[in-house]
């Protein structure tokens, strides 16, 4: 359709900075006079703190301060954007092994680490609830004695305005969501086949390779923080509440992030570094180890019971889901993760009768929060393996039962929500064709499909600015964060396209709450679609201002000024480039023009969700029956993105997401052994390595211009992860003849599937 810059796999400028080592990450940032922090952490799962003795630590060489809860009692010393239950430092009791109890500030990291050993914390142990069964049992010890009102998805008002009124907690249920429609019981009674199964989704760690870190400076009633936050504006809001500061007095900046995958959403170590600076009067840097990062945020594990009724032809009549998530000691974003799991578990299918119920449960374990896919990987494993088991019973193929039930373009998945903006049956055929083409006829070989659709984009509030310089070059400002996904390059493409300027003169500046305009979050695959739209509006606004200025210069009505690439033309045909318009209007060869783009829930983005993110994958596995090792023979994905602004970047997101999905499907699981994790390190928590590469990788892109975003684009980056687990489980079931009920499918588990009668 005539685009010049978008739709091409242009080289990403940020990659050049990154291959030279020049790119600045948070961990590289220093501040003048900076001290270093190390955290004293709880060494038990649930205990009352009876005393903290910091005298020896304070006397140690190089120690500047030791901060405990008592030192910050005058602050609002809790955070949490849904439920403000997360204490910066444990005040009276610890709720999980690894919880911060004190912060040591010293001249060097080594001095701080040495002094951590000298802080003596005395505890009185409490009974602990280490898993959801223990936490939900009668008489279970309460992780939180007080409960705070939580809100579910889309109650945006409530999401941002924490209800401070606490009531006595009656249970360890942090949050509960139920959705449904129709008459499920009647439909089950009529069904030709009813299939019920229970699956277990493992406790995961996102392992963004740059661990959480932050450097904070509290000075003259203002707070400046550089951190690894995906959502610097959300962190700013939390910090402003902690210190009682106006939002304008808190500046949060996120440089390049060394990976995020959702795990750097919301507030993590920023309050610890900030209170350390507030107490010590020095800028303070805090960098976690990987072990500490695992104890900061992990992924919700889940147990999901699913029951579905089918007509004899394979049509779904009813589905029922019961989801229990282990959300750990603090709610963080788990209520929303659980709400999304409830929204997404039943799949992009025609489900005439539905009952889906989920609870997010507090346990004395590491707090869980957002992770790529946001509840979808958990729920999808249940829904898809249930569908495939039904297909077996009905004598249908995995592809046929999906053909029978997938929603068609425009159909609603959730009543009252945007109809699906994708052609799922067509996407499925692309996967089937590729998988079947290379299917091998060998023993212990199986294929599996996975379909998902996620209500993506989060809440549509985005702003963007473009600043046209006197030489015609362009600055793009966005509060979104570059964490590897490629938004910095992609937004430059959009601006170059809209303004008709060369890509090389566009520079994108991101994620600084005092410089770049408001962006609610960088998550839910929203940036391309929502920031892209805001940026298009900003470019249109800049063009409008330039036309107004040119009309003055030409002494003509503004309607007589025409847009040209990088320039305007007057009624006499005279062409003036952007830089010249700015220079001549201001005079004196100086000045600039700013275009502003604002996006809210209105017009094209009125209906929720802003778009549906599709996950459509196929895998083929080959199993070594002697060892149970699963080799991935084929990985086939379709990115249904509407329009790929940078196709290679889309493929990169899809393969990356699929690989993380394969990690969860085959290798990754955090395991609690008593109060602490048995494998809180990258040796024992095994993530995919290059030797695990699938033999065949087919990354396809479906471009039907059916998204609300620029040029018909929709988001990508999560979708392909979501259905991988179910697809692998189905493939393993077909290869072994037995259905697994949990991930990861480690060699031992697969060997047992094969070897057990």
């Amino acid at each position: 359709m005539g685009e010049r810059v978008v739709g091409r796999s242009v080289r990403r400028p940020d990659l050049i900075e990154k291959v030279t080592g020049a790119a600045e990450y948070c961990v590289d940032v220093t501040m003048p006079g900076m001290a270093h922090a190390k955290v004293v952490r709880s060494d038990r799962a649930h205990a009352r703190i009876t005393a903290i003795d910091v005298a020896d630590a304070l006397a140690a060489p190089g120690v500047v301060a030791v901060v405990t809860a008592a030192d910050i009692a005058t602050l609002h010393a809790r955070f949490g954007h849904i439920i403000a239950d997360h204490w910066i430092l444990a005040p009276d009791k610890v709720r999980y092994y690894g919880e911060p109890v004190a912060v040591v500030v010293a001249e060097t990291v080594a001095a701080a680490a040495d002094a951590v050993e000298l802080v003596r914390v005395s505890y009185a142990d409490l009974p602990s609830a280490m898993d959801v069964d223990a936490a939900l049992a009668d008489g279970a010890p309460l992780v939180h004695e007080e409960s705070y009102d939580a809100t579910g998805d889309e109650s945006f008002q409530n999401l941002s305005h924490v209800d401070e009124s606490a009531t006595a907690a009656l249970s360890n249920v942090a949050h509960e969501v139920t959705i449904g429609w129709g008459d499920v019981d009647a439909a089950f009674a009529e069904a030709a086949v009813v299939v019920e199964n229970t699956v277990h989704f493992p406790m995961l760690y996102a392992y963004a390779m740059e661990p959480y870190n932050a450097v904070a400076s509290f000075h003259d009633g203002a707070l400046t923080v550089v951190s690894t936050a995906q959502h610097p504006y959300m962190v700013r809001d939390d910090l402003a509440r902690v210190f009682g500061l106006p939002l304008s007095k808190v500046r949060v900046t996120s440089p390049y992030l060394g990976g995020g995958y959702g795990s750097k959403s919301y507030t993590k170590v920023e309050p610890l570094a900030s209170v350390a600076s507030w107490v010590s009067g020095r800028p303070v840097k805090l960098t976690l180890t990987v072990e500490e990062a695992i104890y900061t945020t992990r992924v919700d594990s889940a147990r999901i019971r699913v029951k579905s009724g089918f007509a004899a032809d394979g049509a779904i009549l009813a589905r029922e889901f019961d989801i229990v998530m282990d959300s750990g000691a603090y709610a963080d974003n788990s209520p929303l993760v659980m709400a999304k799991a409830v929204n997404r578990c039943f799949g992009p299918y025609r489900v005439p009768n539905l009952r889906a119920h989920g609870v997010s449960v507090y346990t004395n374990t590491s707090p869980a929060s957002s992770y790529r896919g946001f509840g979808a990987p958990q729920g999808n494993l249940a829904g898809e393996t249930n569908l495939d088991q039904a297909a077996e019973r009905l004598g249908l193929s995995g592809a046929d039962i999906r053909r029978r039930n997938l929603v068609r373009k425009g159909e609603e998945i959730l009543p009252g929500k945007r109809g699906i903006d994708a052609d799922l049956p067509a996407d499925l055929e692309m996967v089937v064709e590729s998988l079947e083409r290379d299917r091998k006829d060998v023993p212990y070989y199986g294929v599996g499909f996975g379909c998902s659709a996620s209500d993506a984009g989060a809440y549509p509030i985005s702003t963007a600015q473009v600043r046209i310089q006197i030489d015609g070059s362009v600055l793009v400002l966005s509060g979104s964060t570059e964490m590897g996904q490629g938004s910095r390059s992609l937004l430059a493409q959009v601006a170059a396209e809209e303004l008709g300027v060369d890509l090389s003169v566009v520079t994108v500046v991101q994620s600084d709450t005092s410089v770049t305009p408001y962006e609610r979050t960088t998550g839910a695959s929203r940036t391309t679609t929502l920031v892209g739209l805001a940026l298009q509006r900003a470019c249109a606004d800049a063009r409008s201002r330039l036309r107004d200025m040119a009309a003055e210069l030409f002494s003509c009505p503004v309607d007589d000024v025409r847009d040209l690439p990088g320039a305007v033309a007057g009624p006499d045909g005279r062409e003036v480039d952007f830089g010249a318009v700015v220079r001549q209007w201001f005079g004196g060869s100086a000045g600039e023009v700013t275009g502003v783009g604002l996006l809210r829930r209105d017009g094209a983005t009125q209906q929720m969700p802003p778009f549906w993110e599709v996950g459509m994958v196929g895998v083929a596995v080959q199993i070594d029956p002697e060892t149970g090792v699963v080799a991935v023979d084929q990985l086939v994905t379709v990115a249904d993105v509407g329009f790929a602004i940078n196709p290679r970047a889309v493929e990169g997101q899809d393969l990356g997401a699929a690989t993380q999905g394969l990690g969860a499907a085959l290798h990754e699981e955090l395991v609690y052994d008593g109060p602490q994790l048995a494998n809180a390190n990258v040796v024992d928590y095994r993530v995919p390595r290059v030797t695990d590469l699938p033999r065949k990788i087919d990354l396809m892109i479906a471009e039907r211009r059916d998204g609300v975003g620029p040029y018909g684009a929709k988001g990508a980056g999560e979708g392909t992860l979501n259905p991988i687990g179910g697809a692998v489980a189905a493939a393993v079931a077909r290869a072994t003849g037995r259905w697994p009920d949990r991930l990861p499918l480690t060699p031992e588990r697969v060997w047992r599937l094969i070897s057990t009668d």
């Binding site: 990659l15 001249e107 390779m209 740059e210 390049y256 590897g484 990169g652 393969l655 040796v683 390595r689």
Partner: protein
């Protein structure tokens, strides 16, 4: 700010990216910290601190080592090459070019380690084939890309080497 009196120090002289550097360091000083904090060469990153992720890989006398667990004192008298030493400051090293061209990185945090590991392989006698590349890079973790573009990026440079050797 005065440095607190601490443990004794040892003198080291290290050639870092062609520049001779002499410093007094704590015996427990790790090469990664020496490079990043003492010399300000922050291109080398640190992640697992257990020698299993490969992020902190640098070359010591041409051999890849994990700087997170390598004592600075053990680099005394050695030549250390970091990611900052790959390019001459004007043109990118062929591996750097190839990584950018092949979208072989996203967040880029693991990239310095992959580049140094790949350089060690390509500096060998024979240009490696795909299997040798995969085997050689097994100790480097990337969470963004899914590895295939990285293997292809290194493969392309190896192919060009082979072409150069034979043509």
């Amino acid at each position: 700010m005065t440095e607190p009196s601490g443990p004794p120090r040892v003198a080291v002289t290290v050639d870092v990216n062609g520049v001779s550097v002499s410093r007094q360091v704590e015996p427990r000083s790790l090469l990664a910290d020496f490079l990043r904090e003492d010399l300000g060469l922050t291109g080398t990153k640190v992640s697992c601190e257990l020698q299993v992720c490969g992020v902190c890989t640098v070359l010591v006398d041409g051999r890849p080592v994990s700087a997170c667990t390598f004592l600075t004192a053990d680099a005394d008298g050695a030549a250390v090459t970091t990611v900052e030493g790959l390019s001459d400051g004007r043109t990118l090293h062929p591996l750097q070019e190839s990584f950018v061209d092949n979208f072989a990185l996203q967040c880029g945090f693991c990239t310095p380690g992959f580049l140094m590991m790949a350089k060690a392989l390509l500096d060998g006698d024979e240009p490696p084939d795909r299997a040798a590349i995969v085997e050689h890079l097994e100790g480097n973790i990337c969470r963004c890309t899914g590895y295939q573009p990285i293997v292809e990026a290194v493969e392309q440079v190896a192919e060009r080497q082979r072409g150069g050797a034979h043509g």
